[in-house]
Amino acid sequence: MISTTAVLQEIAHARPAGLRAKLRTDHISMTFGRTGEEINVLDDVSIEVGDGEFVCLLGPSGCGKSTLLNVVAGFLKPSHGEVRIDGEIVNRPDRRRVFVFQERGVFPWLTVEGNIGFGLSALSESERTQRIAHYVELVGLKGFEKAYPRELSGGMKQRVEVARALAVNPDMLFLDEPFGALDSITRLIMRGELLRICAVARKTIIFVTHDIDEAVQLADRVIVMSARPAKIQKVVPIDIAHPRDISSSRYLALRDGILEAIGLAHKV
């Protein structure tokens, strides 16, 4: 049993050849103390993410994958272990690495323009306008610059969030179930949009989801996490080129492999 875990951790550390390590977590554990009772949320998690890699953290709801993302982003301090990005220890959030919340993270008191320009106050007026226009265009919100979030649909608000994050030109994005609140059709469209945007502006991305298909469609590598306390259960490289054919045998084989790792039956 111990040896199996060790082997899996080895796999977790392995990264696609040719990529420099961007992020590395070193034996992270997280314990929340609540009303005297201690809850173990993360248990000895070591992962490595390559520069420019798209990694999905996949696990059941409430398993602690969001906690892991919050630790990596610097919002939470781990109880044990450390996170290093480009060799530096992470201890606070940083504008070079932007967290994309579900669409509820959009500021309702600002227009689309105001939201996208939120992180750009250091730029000159003209540069800022230019940058905003560029990202409005990129996420397909032209004509809605002056609209307030309450006038937008869920999918559009999510685009605003993504644009606000991209506008500060970060080198990493952390996405926490960003499409979780959207209907299934909009979700599919948004996945395509995200991949399109990623192709334009190459970023290192950690994407948290509980949706197996979403993980296999998007990621270069899927890290499967167990139920709480979250441990790395399996690491699955997705060796299919984009655009991915979601009825191809390779896709289905990878998906079934993950289903099996989680311990779910193939038949509903």
């Binding site: 959030p93 967290f99 500021f107 939120f118 992180g119 307030y148």
Partner: protein, 238 residues
Amino acid sequence: MLLLVWQVAIGVQRAPILPTPWLVAKALVELAVSGRLMRYVVASLFRVTWGFALAAILAIPIGLTLGLYRRAEYAFNPIIQLLRPISPLAWIPISILWFGVGDIAAIFLIFLASFLPLTVTAMNAVASIPDVYLNAGRNFGLKRSQIVFRVLYPAVTPQLILGLRITLGIAWLVVVAAEMIAVNSGLGFLIVDARNAGNRYDLVVAGMVMIGVIGLLLDIGVKSLEKVPSISWGYSDD
């Protein structure tokens, strides 16, 4: 319609329960012509403006700070909760003792009436801000003071406006009561004075009508702020 019912109902009554609307209208004209109406309205508004503005200027930053620092909230909340149920009117003797009969006593009462509700509103507003807004602010590298002005403040504005609206209503109630005792001008004074000086109930009701009208206008004035697009998001779910 209401006026008509009022007029007729009083007409069929023999005992002097209320003056008729016609008499009240005449009384209003009389007050306006003599210049007292304008003078009293200005006097009342002057006191409310000062008491309310001072309370808002102090209570909002204090309330936001208490909301931001949980420990301060734990320290001060018991005192606030103890003082809150005391009617501002209970402070009338003390305010006269401290400031004598005059404007300052009335302003002090209005200040007291507005200060605690506004502090509590601001404190609770901070507590209800979703973490995502503050985290997003931190993520974009904002300093603490920038987070206060660019995230905290806009996030609580809708609730603050609501609190200001309710509190201004309270302040307007209190000024009338304060003027009945602590000063010799204003709409509250008009009502007591008219009764004492020869039971002029037409003037009493005229004063009440003015209080109602001005109270309504104040409420409409604050309410119009709720229509501002950067604020209106706080009031509906759609």
